[in-house]
Symmetry: C2
Subunit: 94 residues, 2 copies
DNA sequence: AAAGTATTTAGACATTTGTCTAAATATCTA
DNA sequence: TAGATATTTAGACAAATGTCTAAATACTTT
């Protein structure tokens, strides 16, 4: 989970996630939304990919990125568990 | 939300959060769980406090820390919304 | 009041992170 | 096959981050 939390720690990367929520986009399309260089965006995409937050497929000379929302499941669970006073220190009752 | 995401980006801070989930603890008690110095733990606690993840009250010479789980609500919402394919690009229908 | 305990503040330092430009790779098109 | 387009890789660099030790602050106890 560390890569995931790290990935979400940067505002630019969260914006990328929000963009991809609306629709899949190529690296170039994504970069157009930001004022930082394409290599920087490429780097952010790489980190998101390492964290398994995005998937990419190469289509000709383009690379299309999409969100992999499944990785958030565990994280949401982690956070909801924090609020679960009932099961302090106990295993969840299946 | 940036301070919150940043705060969660560090493994030590997440461990602190997990400790506080079980029970409120003083700074010293928390520090005893780690092999890093007390000033470092103090610094982590400060960041968690800035992110509003923990609350602290001074009791004599001790300072007791507790979790403020309410801050996670917005974050959970953010993540759940990412998975919500239905409302792509639309405002949530109240 | 002095000494001990709990915690933070200050300042230094190495590592990590986010950014950039230049160059490399891969694909498409004329 | 050249030239244009899309994207990444490489390497440099400044800023942010996590850690440390030493010192300061605050409270308690003798």
């Amino acid at each position: 989970m560390n890569l995931l939390f790290k990935a979400l720690g940067d505002p630019t990367r969260r914006q990328i996630i929000e963009l991809l929520r609306k629709k899949d986009m190529t690296a170039g399309e994504i970069a157009d939304y930001f004022s930082i260089s394409k290599p920087s965006i490429s780097h952010h995409l790489d980190l998101l990919k390492q964290a398994n937050v995005v998937l990419s497929i190469k289509e000709g000379q383009f690379i299309t990125y999409s969100l992999n929302t499944t990785v958030f499941d565990e994280m949401v669970k982690w956070m909801l568990d924090l609020t679960d006073k009932q099961s302090k220190k106990t295993k969840p009752r299946k």
